[in-house]
């Protein structure tokens, strides 16, 4: 057992941090306040090679291994990139593009992956519905086969990148009589008749990622737009969990590193009662808890990444453990970071209130903490 990153991986992490600090972080506050998606930053992620990092080079990807890919997500958080952009990246590269890459035909791969990897197109994934969240199998969206077409009807809810996406992977029931086994996955492009996105939802955090409903009203797509075969959709959704529990969690770990640095810098400068507040044990206590969270979460996240790198099937127990830990335990450090900054912490300028708000998604998105507990308690 050993936990070392390679020299190349560590160098790459530093490169990502430098890139993000220079090209992305300066605009983060502005876009969070505007509650707007920062297209320019997104394209830059594409140009730098982050969006397609793990895809083979022949599809305009970076050919990186899983651990390096996860490290890039951590680096974005550590550099100070907001949770909205990292979520938009996660939904795009893993929930959407990776599903097409893994389950698509060669034609589908050639058509979508290079565009998505370069950031020319934006992707999203629609699984959740207004009345079906944790209980995925109760989804109502239907895909009916008529001749050489599928006709889709239904609504998807809380879809990251929904309002800006050029292509969506959408899950729908091809056989409403059965539960999980009735779900199939489809590729739907923007502009398809009967397919539209709702207005962006106003959210507590991750505000630079736009979230909306997807509306499917007699939406007609060629039958070739199915991913894999009918009934395979649920498995595909489950396979994205590997990324969800590694690459999408890593930015939260990185963000806590960022908080720790911010808080430590602030504690040295802020003088109260004639001394820097960092000289008080109560402040050190908070800094220590941030560090402890980072070190604890680190190994859980990279265990999932490393196992995926080895080509192992996902260990659902370990995945749920990682998600539950990061989701629940990341809340305390971001709360402490706000309090440590006093009144300034409550104001936008100091970043900590944004990270506090962004972090509240961790125990909800991609399966709530309760659902992780349900999975774990069934597996033990």
């Amino acid at each position: 057992m050993e936990f070392a990153f390679t020299k190349e991986q560590l160098m790459f992490k530093q490169e990502v941090i430098r890139f993000a600090k220079k090209e992305i972080v300066p605009r983060v506050q502005e876009f969070d306040l505007k509650e707007d998606f920062d297209v320019e930053s997104f394209r830059k992620l594409g140009e730098f090679g982050i969006l397609g990092l793990h895809f083979p080079e022949e599809y305009s990807g970076g050919g990186a291994d899983v651990v390096t890919t996860v490290l890039a997500g951590e680096a974005l958080g550590e550099a100070g990139v907001d949770g909205g952009l990292t979520l938009a990246y996660g939904a795009h590269s893993f929930l959407c593009a990776d599903t097409i890459f893994r389950h698509g035909t060669e034609d589908q791969r050639r058509k979508y992956i290079p565009k998505l990897a370069k950031g020319e197109w934006i992707g999203c994934m629609g699984l959740t519905e207004p009345d079906a969240g944790s209980d995925v199998a109760s989804m109502k969206t239907i895909a009916e086969k008529k001749g050489d077409k599928y006709i889709l009807n239904g609504n998807k809810m809380f879809i990251t990148n929904g309002p800006v996406a050029d292509v969506a992977v959408v899950y729908a029931k091809t056989d409403p009589k059965v539960q999980h086994a009735g779900i199939s996955a489809f590729i739907i492009e923007k502009g398809t008749k009967g397919f539209s996105a709702g207005k962006p939802l106003i959210k507590m955090g991750v505000r630079t990622s736009l979230t909306s409903e997807l509306i499917l009203q007699d939406c007609e797509i060629p039958k070739e737009n199915i991913l894999g075969k009918e009934g395979e959709g649920f498995l595909m959704a489950m396979q994205t969990v590997e990324w969800d529990r590694s690459a999408l969690l890593a930015p939260f770990v990185g963000a806590t590193r960022y908080l720790l640095k911010k808080c430590s810098d602030y504690s040295k400068k802020r003088i109260q009662f004639g001394k820097p507040i960092g000289s008080y044990q109560a402040i050190k206590h908070k800094l220590a808890n941030m560090r402890i969270f980072v070190e604890a979460a680190h190994s859980l996240v990279y265990r999932i990444a490393w196992c995926k790198n080895q080509g192992r099937p996902l260990n659902h127990l370990e995945a749920a453990v990682a998600k539950l830990f990061v989701g629940d335990y990341s809340l305390l450090p971001s709360n402490d970071a706000v309090v440590l900054h006093g009144g300034y912490g409550y104001c936008h300028e100091y970043d900590v209130e944004r990270i506090f708000r962004d972090g509240r998604l961790a125990p909800i998105g991609g399966g709530t903490s309760d659902i992780q507990k349900m999975i774990i308690s069934r597996l033990i």
Binding site: M1, S264, K268, R378
Partner: protein, 353 residues
């Protein structure tokens, strides 16, 4: 990066578990258990993630003997093997590793935390000898030890005075009755004009000894959590109310999920801190303090949750969760306490103020 133990390590861990399953750890003393362990490589494992995994197994069977054995072989043993002379190594080490000799390490004094207070135990020179005076608190193995490694000061330097049982002026208090560790001999130690040879003064870094102690305590917490979790899980699957095993109720099933999450997080944390220490990483100390805080507090919580699940069965003395619950406090106090650890971690985050 590699999150697996290799084949031979895995085999060893299985065999150790099987060996311990066959021993009734409540009816056996330290020397006897040491003789059993001496048949394996347990006592020879270097500081590594594998060591933590092995410690977890032993401490899941017996907290009391685990602490006694680790203090004697791992902490006292390392002091001799790293800082002793050839003669000391030859006379002491073989006995330590086959259960014939027991060692104790006395660091703490009345304000016990050596991180905070300068040590009051002192040696001075008289002819070719060293005369040692001082009082030591809460010394594990004190009542059964053949050798004591006593921390103190001489010539304005930190030192370890190696003192043999029976030395004039050395006395041991009655056994202290502690909340946990009912099977461990813990007493205070008094040194009045103890006369020792100059060769019995060793000069290790006391902070290194504290770190070994911290690692042992982390290993102890893993066993506490494992034993607590396993007993609660087995009970929850078999004990029924309302016609269902209680694990089927979310209040119980979800508690077990949280416990397992904490256990797995602690395991990886412990393994990684030990790995960093083993490769001499500059962050090793801080990550070890971090792991110790996390694992120490987690052990109390996991044991407490286990008691909640075991309910009536849990409050009966003698079950593993009850033992773990009582011992868990110790892991937060002994070694570098959680408070001092947090201060050190905070200091490291701040750098120079």
């Amino acid at each position: 990066m590699n999150f697996d133990f290799n084949q031979s390590e895995q085999t060893f861990l299985k065999e150790l578990d099987t060996l311990l399953k066959g021993i009734n750890c409540k009816n056996i003393d330290v020397n006897e258990l040491l003789k059993e362990l001496a048949k394996t490589d347990y006592l020879k494992i270097e500081i590594s993630p594998f060591l933590m995994a092995a410690m977890e197994i032993l401490s899941s069977y017996t907290q009391s003997l685990f602490l006694s054995i680790e203090v004697s072989t791992r902490i006292f043993g390392r002091i001799i093997s790293n800082f002793g002379n050839d003669n000391q190594k030859q006379t002491i080490l073989p006995g330590l590793f086959d259960g014939k000799l027991i060692g104790a390490v006395a660091l703490s004094e009345d304000s016990m935390n050596i991180d905070n207070e300068p040590l009051k135990t002192k040696g001075y020179r008289e002819d070719d000898f060293i005369i040692v005076n001082g009082n030591k608190s809460y010394v594990v193995n004190a009542g059964i030890a053949d050798y004591f490694a006593v921390a103190g000061r001489i010539d304005d330097k930190d030192a370890i005075f190696l003192i043999e049982k029976g030395t004039n002026g050395l006395s041991v208090s009655d056994r202290l009755h502690t909340i946990g560790y009912d099977g461990t001999s813990i007493s205070n130690l008094y040194l009045k004009d103890c006369k020792i040879n100059e060769t019995n003064v060793l000069y290790p870094k006391l902070s290194a000894i504290r770190m070994w102690e911290n690692q042992v305590l982390i290993g102890a917490t893993l066993g506490m959590m494992k034993a607590s979790f396993e007993s609660a899980k087995n009970y929850a699957k078999t004990h029924k109310t309302g016609g269902k095993p209680i694990i089927a109720y979310q209040e119980i099933g979800f508690k077990l999920a949280e416990m397992l999450t904490t256990l797995q997080t602690s395991q990886l944390f412990a393994y990684r801190s030990c790995w960093l220490y083993g490769i001499g990483d500059k962050e090793a100390d801080i990550v070890t303090y971090s792991a110790k805080v996390f694992c120490g507090e987690s052990a109390e919580k996991v044991a407490s949750d286990a008691l909640q699940i075991l309910s009536g069965a849990g409050v009966l003395c003698g079950n593993p969760a009850e033992e773990a619950y009582r011992c868990s406090k110790y892991a937060q106090i002994a070694g570098t306490s959680t408070e001092i650890s947090r201060v050190k971690i905070g200091d490291a985050a701040l750098g120079r103020l």
